[in-house]
């Protein structure tokens, strides 16, 4: 019997009898059906097909949300995988208000937290601006800061204005605050912060050290000893 060039489908010979035509067409159709299905193995919306040989394909079932396409360890076939690339994700934008503002229920899906804090003013008087992880105040911070004689320097939460009080009406201030390994429930947490405030006087502050807690950090409390917070913004990022 004759066959086609590429897929070897069986076709009638020139000398074949007409009476065998129906059977020959049925055989050819069946072969075509098998070949077409092999070239289109997908079964579900979102599936992908890929070649396993020059004329053979396989089905790759669709991945899950957020997965990326990559090659397997043998570099022989594609597969879906969770993205391993790093980066920062904005988790929340918080407007400071009240005697304190707490950012709560912080996602535990990142390696570290990065906070940008700016535009902080308060209602009553110049004061000390600070952040308390997990709202813990005493005995929670150890490290080097720009002005060790400042308020509760050696044993308290992170004093973001440790070079002097924040002028309550000057909103040009800005700080960066970072906590590493914040989800750990077994290790202490390295932290660092730095910032500048009070406009023309350009007071600056910094701190390096750690939180003396093995508890995972799930919330951050911001407050100013000068009175209720009037304005201020906290951008919270998760970092992978």
């Amino acid at each position: 019997m004759a066959t086609t060039t590429n897929y070897g489908w069986t076709t009638p010979d020139d000398t074949a009898l007409v009476k065998d035509g129906a059977s020959a067409i049925r055989t050819l159709g069946s072969s075509v059906d098998t070949t077409v299905k092999a070239l289109n193995p997908g079964t579900t919306s979102g599936d992908l097909d890929y070649y396993t040989a020059a004329t053979t394909k396989a089905r790759l079932a669709k991945g899950t949300a957020g997965q990326v396409l990559t090659m397997n360890s043998g570099a022989t076939a594609p597969e879906w995988a969770t993205s391993s690339s790093g980066g920062m994700t904005l988790l929340s934008t918080t407007t400071l208000s009240g005697a304190s503002t707490t950012i709560s229920s912080i996602s535990q899906s990142y390696l570290s937290l990065y906070l940008l804090v700016y535009g902080v003013t308060n209602a009553t008087a110049d004061g000390v601006f600070y952040v308390r992880p997990n709202a813990v105040n005493e005995g929670n911070f150890s490290g080097v800061t720009s002005t060790p004689s400042a308020y509760k320097e050696s044993d308290s939460a992170s004093i973001l204005s440790n070079s002097g009080n924040v002028v309550r009406t000057n909103s040009s201030n800005s700080w960066v605050y970072q906590i590493e390994n914040y989800t750990s429930s077994t290790t202490l947490k390295p932290i660092s912060f730095h910032g500048v405030y009070n406009g023309a006087s350009n007071a600056s502050s910094f701190g390096f050290g750690g939180l003396k807690t093995t508890a995972a950090i799930t919330s951050l409390l911001f407050a100013n000893t000068g009175g209720n917070l009037s304005t201020g913004t906290v951008l919270l990022y998760g970092v992978k």
């Binding site: 918080t94 503002t101 000390v128 709202a135």
Partner: protein
């Protein structure tokens, strides 16, 4: 009109993005009062340190600039 007896606090739940402004609860208010006492003590200690320093300089007959020069 309802009277606010305690300071207000803001809670921002980052999981739900819900923001709640409410009065301090008992624990928060106790901490708030303790913070005020601690701040007053810190301010007093700082003021006393400044006063002691000034008094010592007077006894020594030095100005602050002269002291800085000595400590150079």
């Amino acid at each position: 009109m309802a009277k606010t007896s305690r300071p207000m606090v803001r809670i921002h739940n980052t999981e739900t993005d819900e923001v709640i402004d409410r009065e301090m609860n008992d624990a928060e208010f106790a901490q708030y009062e303790a913070d005020k006492v601690a701040q007053a003590a810190a301010d007093a200690a700082k003021a006393k340190g400044e006063a002691d320093k000034t008094a010592l300089l007077v006894r020594l007959g030095l100005t602050e600039d002269e002291l800085k020069t000595i400590l150079g």
